[in-house]
């Protein structure tokens, strides 16, 4: 039995644990406020709140319920729009209504839930952050201007917040119903009653992390599949520094990465990079390990960690082995990984003072889109000479690609405009992009050259841009 708190009620279900939360709330609990727009996490109409205990403290994040299996709701608090309704409109709903931020209304509950998630988060109550909270919600009617105005009002609601937790504040200010103040206790009680319900000894069970890719790719099969849930496995969580190494549990989410002190310290632009990666609810669900294992040739974090030359620890439950990420991919969606093996740990060497790092991504839509081409670079320069470099690129080959030839070319070079132009030519010789819905081959080739130039322009602001932007 899967047990969790749904709005104000404790629920349990014997449905297959792979069933999407969306189907459960709509068709089993008749909570019809959660809408179906795309079933691939791309529209946000089905956004719900997920509350869990993080080191004993109640924490809420948003999730697209279409991609979230019931197994990942186990022991948590799931909140649909019905769960934040009070007799009068709450201030979030009032802001949306007052600003005419709802037209056909179909996407509206999703926006309301994302803003509710913002009210429950510890993010600074700025307009910018409020708008960022709805970066995963698509509206086809309003053109978003009225929604932005509503989001600004929601940010203002929180301006007085000082002492206490966001949850306390939201309850005190009647932003959310009073029952939220007891959820932490109720979850603690619930956790004591749980007893390994998700255990699965089947060695062939499908492993599911955040589900954000699997539920798109295998929506129909996975519902009834035998699943081993990794998302809440404490052994697979956590981001920590160990000497000059960073150790990442593969079930860490992108949001965990963004919030981690290590990443913030060593990658000052990390938030800028991650703003280009999916959306808030997807970042809340998607795991780093899942991004590696789904083997997409354009996985953003695969490209990111390829440039960091990360090393993986794979385990089959009995023995472990280490494998550089660069060796994981054998061909299109094929991995050097036995079916019994799972990803246990990720580690990489943290940048030092001589290291420069950059990540670039271009997609048809700048945000909430999959890359046409992405690329990351890490290099060290000593005395104007590149002494070491790792360069990766996605969307230019059947696998997430390390550009070894280009790296070799770059090593030992002075950073000059001519040298960079030559490097882009070398890169062209080692890629094999195909034409698809994300762009033609010609475009992807040109784009990679541009992104390599972009790396250098970002990392070496003294370069003469004019010489790099020539029309040949």
């Amino acid at each position: 039995m899967i047990k969790f708190i749904l709005n104000n009620k404790n629920v349990s279900t014997s449905l297959p644990p792979g069933t999407p939360v969306l189907d459960f709330v709509r068709y089993r609990k008749q909570l019809m406020g959660t809408k179906i727009g795309c079933r691939e996490g791309d529209c946000g109409a089905c956004t719900v709140l997920v509350g869990d205990l993080n080191e004993g403290e109640l924490r809420y994040r948003t999730a697209t319920s279409c991609l979230m299996p019931l197994g990942n709701a186990h022991g948590k608090h799931i909140v649909t729009v019905e769960g934040i309704n009070m007799s009068d409109l709450n201030p979030i709903q009032q802001a949306m209504s007052d600003e005419s931020a709802t037209q056909c209304g179909f996407c509206t509950p999703g926006f309301v839930m994302s803003l509710a998630g913002f009210c429950l988060s510890k993010k600074a109550p700025t307009v910018q952050n409020s708008i960022a909270a709805i970066d995963g919600n698509i509206c086809r009617c309003t053109g978003y201007k009225s929604i932005k105005r509503a989001a600004a009002r929601v940010a203002n609601l929180l301006a007085q917040r000082s002492e206490g937790t966001p949850i306390q504040f939201a309850v005190e200010q009647e932003i959310l119903p009073a029952y939220f103040s007891n959820i932490q206790e109720r979850l603690q009680a619930l956790s004591l009653s749980l007893n390994g319900e998700l255990g699965n000894d089947n060695p062939l069970a499908q492993r599911v992390g955040g589900g954000t890719d699997l539920y798109v790719q295998k929506h129909d099969e996975i519902k009834d599949a035998s699943i081993q849930f990794l998302f809440d496995d404490a052994d697979l969580k956590g981001i920590r520094q160990d000497g000059n190494q960073c150790i990442i549990g593969p079930a860490s989410t992108v949001t965990d990465l963004i919030e981690s002190a290590v990443m913030q310290t060593y990658f000052p632009d990390f938030k800028l990079y991650t703003k280009l990666v999916s959306s808030t609810p997807i970042r809340n669900m998607a795991t780093v390990g899942g991004n590696f294992i789904n083997a997409s040739p354009i996985g953003d974090f695969t490209i990111f960690f390829l440039a960091l030359d990360a090393t993986l620890t794979l385990s089959n439950g009995v023995t472990e082995r280490e494998l550089p990420l660069r060796d994981l991919y054998l061909g299109y969606k094929t991995l050097d990984k036995q079916s019994a093996e799972y990803l246990k740990q990720i580690r990489f060497e943290l940048p030092n003072v001589t290291t420069r790092f950059n990540f670039e991504k271009v997609s048809k839509r700048t945000h909430l889109d999959i890359a046409s081409v992405n690329s990351a670079i890490k290099l060290t320069v000593e005395g104007d000479v590149i002494t070491s470099v790792t360069l990766s690129a996605g969307g230019v080959a059947p696998i997430p690609k390390r550009l070894f030839k280009t790296e070799e070319f770059l090593t030992g070079q002075f950073v000059t405009e001519e040298m960079i132009m030559e490097a882009t030519s070398v890169a062209q010789s080692e890629i094999s992009p195909i034409s698809d819905a994300r762009g033609t081959e010609a475009y992807k080739r040109l784009l990679l050259s541009q992104l390599i130039k972009a790396h250098f322009i970002r990392l070496f602001p003294e370069l003469n841009v004019e010489q790099l932007l020539v029309i040949s």
């Binding site: 729009v81 037209q103 209304g105 179909f106 509206t108 509950p109 009617c141 053109g143 048809k364 475009y443």
Partner: protein
């Protein structure tokens, strides 16, 4: 007044098709669509599917109890394919099972063997092969053949616009519930309840009076549910009729995207001639409309392209010909603007081509040729023009010169980024161009407790039409708005409706509500006059009180209503409105098809990243001709939403079909509509104050479609920004301007031949494209 649905919307309590509580025993349908774009069905094997758990029946064309036909304008669209398939996704069979999952699982087990036939995806190829949906049509004013000799400058070119996926967030769907004596109650996510009723009657072999199509609201329509809701409704109704069980089908997103038509892609040729003073003397255009596999609304869309082929410009000599070309794509259909935007893009491309060739700014030619009141459109109607007023006000209010100076300064010092600007004046005709559709009815009941129920033929899909109807009723009856309820749109209550489309819904239905309420008020005044011993002319109703000779009496609304009931005076009225003065003769291609035009001017400015080929929309600043807006909150929302939808069409929204006619942009992961970060940083909207009367409800001009066309300015602004970086680039007029096209244009070598515009935006696509990778 806020949207009357906003309270239930923000609480998640508004009911859409998939939210309707199910009746016990409801079955679920799912369509099996052709995997091949064009071919002959050799064998259809349903046995494995029929043996799947829960499957109740699989319908094919042989099971259709009426005529296997749902085509609206032209009867060329079977409900279920018989021997021929004409597009990928064309429904061949309809599985009905006990659960949704079982129906879809069974669909996967259907196998079909199809002998492939050549596939046409390009309208020019269809044209070359003589594949037309209807006869071509030509609009003509003056004589272009002789006008060319008077032109100092003549330019020719080609312009292409891709389609656009509606992407209403609520997918298509229907829920049919059999009633006694073969009647059917049908919930449908449709803009056209009567269209659904007609298609169902025809295909199920029933009479229209047996079919109650009932619509509460849609989760977006944008034209996509005008005629294309018919298929799913007809399939569910057929199954319900045969099985005597409720049958529901809510399409999933991929089914919806693959099986339904979109905005028509167009490929067009133009020739434009100007005199020394830059007056446009002559314009010729040939439009090749990609209609898809069957007519759907294509003939009407094509007609509107012709009506808008000169946009807001007066050109004395015009010859414009349009061909509706049959291809093997899903039948393309209505989409906000309905062919108008496609025509307007081409004249803007022609002006831009002339301006670029002459080395001047396009706005010089635009300003010079804006129409004036009394100017004749190619179809014979005389303009009542606000074009100059909007243009001039936008220039002054937003200080166009300052914007230009800033852009020039920015571009002179920045290499990595460039800015671009374009002006987009619009002129959009309001009315159904099919004159007979310009009628509407309203049914108003006043109940004895003083509450009022209003039924119209209007369908609420987010545009706020029900709010406007409520405003009309409350205003005419002079009662509190909360006394009025807008009822669902039902074919049992309001017959023979026109779809909610053509921006005309509020005008047509609003006038009918106004008439019905006015008649009820007239009767109530007679009752009051009798009680107060004065003549009815001396009575008026205001804020729920009866006034006699200007003095408030002690009769209030409730008393008056009750008294009327007691006196056996009817408290209900069914009113009919038909737009006056409009007519059109399609054989002469002359007439007065539009009640009025809506004008406006937008200034669009953008910034491009010359390194990465990406872009940001800086601002869209508009002066818009509202007449007098009866609901500024709703109308502002329509303008903001329309602009962003237009920007999407012109920038990131790219429909990709491969050569075999398979949709490759078939999910939200591969078809991108604007998100919150891609909208303009600023949208400024200033109304143009006008005094003259018009035929709009309360003089509040239609606002649904016109603002979409402001978005066209984004294409030309981006183009100008590219040219600021690469003045030598020869950029084909080929919308949308995706980041791909923009980057390729930025680095286009002056010596290299520029790529031909791709037909309907098609790129050659590798076969093994994965959905999410």
């Amino acid at each position: 007044m806020k949207n009357i649905d906003s309270r239930t919307h923000v609480r998640g309590e508004s009911v859409y098709l998939d939210d309707i509580p199910l009746i016990q025993g409801t079955l679920f349908g799912a369509a099996f669509g052709s995997p091949i774009a064009h071919g002959i069905i050799k064998t259809l094997d349903l046995s494995a599917a029929a043996a799947m758990p829960g499957v109740v029946k699989i319908f094919t064309y042989e099971d259709v109890t009426g005529e296997n036909q749902i085509g609206g304008i032209v009867p060329d669209e079977p409900l279920l394919a018989e021997h021929h398939v004409h597009f990928c996704g064309m429904p061949i069979a309809f599985v009905v099972a006990e659960t949704d999952d079982e129906a879809r699982a069974a669909v996967k087990r259907i196998t079909v063997e199809i002998e492939p036939l050549p596939v046409i995806t390009d309208p020019r190829e269809a044209y070359a092969q003589g594949e037309f949906i209807i006869r071509p049509r030509t609009h003509k004013l003056g004589e272009t053949t002789t006008a060319w000799s008077q032109c100092t400058h003549i330019f020719e070119g080609r312009a292409d616009t891709n389609g656009q996926e509606h992407l209403y967030i609520e997918t298509q769907g229907a829920y049919a519930i059999p009633q006694e004596n073969n009647a059917i109650k049908l919930y449908s996510s449709t803009q056209g309840p009567t269209a659904v009723q007609r298609a169902v009657a025809r295909s199920s072999g029933l009479h229209m009076h047996q079919i109650d199509v009932d619509v509460t609201r849609l989760g977006g329509g944008f034209g996509g549910k005008e005629d294309q809701a018919n298929m799913w409704a007809a399939l569910c109704a057929l199954a319900a009729h045969v099985l005597h069980k409720p049958v529901k089908y809510a399409l999933n997103r991929m089914e919806d995207m693959a099986m339904t038509g979109k905005r028509h892609p167009y490929s067009s040729d133009f020739k434009i001639g100007l005199d020394n003073d830059l007056n446009i003397l002559a314009y010729e255009a040939t439009f090749y409309q990609n209609a898809g596999a069957s007519a759907d609304l294509s003939p009407a869309v094509m007609e509107r392209t012709l009506f808008h082929c000169t946009s807001t410009y007066f050109i004395p000599n015009v010859t414009a010909t349009a061909y509706s070309c049959r291809t093997h794509l899903p039948p393309n259909t209505a989409f906000r603007g309905f062919g108008g935007p496609q025509g307007m893009f081409v004249i803007e491309a022609a002006i831009t081509k002339a301006a670029e060739s002459l080395g001047i700014d396009a706005s010089v030619i635009q300003a010079k040729n804006l129409n004036k009141t009394g100017d004749e459109f190619a179809y014979g109607q005389k303009a009542v023009s606000e074009a100059h007023a909007c243009w001039n006000k936008a220039n002054e209010l937003y200080d166009l010169e300052a914007i230009r100076d800033n852009i020039a300064k920015f571009n002179s010092v920045n290499l990595l980024y460039k800015k671009g600007l374009a002006l987009m004046p619009i002129c959009f005709g309001i009315s159904f161009t099919n004159t007979r559709m310009n009628q509407a009815r309203a049914l108003v009941h006043v109940y004895t407790d003083g509450s009022v129920g209003v039924s119209t033929g209007a369908v609420e899909m987010g545009q706020g039409v029900n709010t406007k109807m409520l405003q009309v009723a409350a205003h005419v009856l002079s009662i509190q708005p909360d006394r009025v309820k807008l009822q669902t749109t039902s074919t049992y209550r309001i017959a023979n409706t026109s779809p909610s489309a053509a921006s005309a819904t509020a005008d047509l239905n609003g006038k009918a509500v106004q008439m019905a309420c006015t008649e009820i008020v007239r009767r109530l005044k007679v009752v009051a006059a009798g009680e107060l011993n004065v003549s009815a002319e001396e009575i008026f109703l205001k804020d729920e009180w009866v006034y006699a000779n200007g003095e408030r009496t002690d009769w209030n609304w409730n008393q008056l209503v009750m008294e009327a009931f007691t006196k056996r005076v009817s408290l209900s009225e069914h009113a009919h409105y038909a737009t006056p003065d409009i007519h059109y003769d399609a054989s002469e291609e002359k007439g007065h098809p539009f009640t009025y035009h809506v004008y406006g001017t937008a200034i669009v400015d953008v910034t491009i990243d010359c390194l990465r080929g990406t872009y940001e929309m800086e601002s869209v600043k508009v002066v818009h001709d509202f007449g007098v807006s009866m609901n500024p909150l709703i109308d502002r929302g329509q303008i903001e939403g329309g602009i962003v939808q237009g920007l999407g069409w012109m920038t990131m929204e790219e429909i990709v079909f491969d050569q075999a006619g398979r949709l490759r942009s078939n999910a939200l992961s591969t078809y991108k509509v604007p998100d919150i970060y891609s909208v303009p940083k600023e949208i400024a909207i200033e109304p143009l104050k006008t005094e003259q009367d018009n035929l709009a409800i309360f003089r509040s001009k239609a606002v649904g479609e016109p603002p979409l066309m402001y978005g066209i300015g984004a294409y030309f602004a981006l183009r100008n920004a590219v040219r600021a970086f690469n003045p030598m680039a020869t950029i084909p007029f080929d919308a949308p301007m995706t980041p791909e096209k923009l980057l390729l244009a930025l680095y286009q070598s002056p010596t290299a031949p520029h790529p031909m515009p791709s037909a309907n935006g098609e790129t050659e696509v590798a076969q093994h494209l994965a959905v999410n990778s």
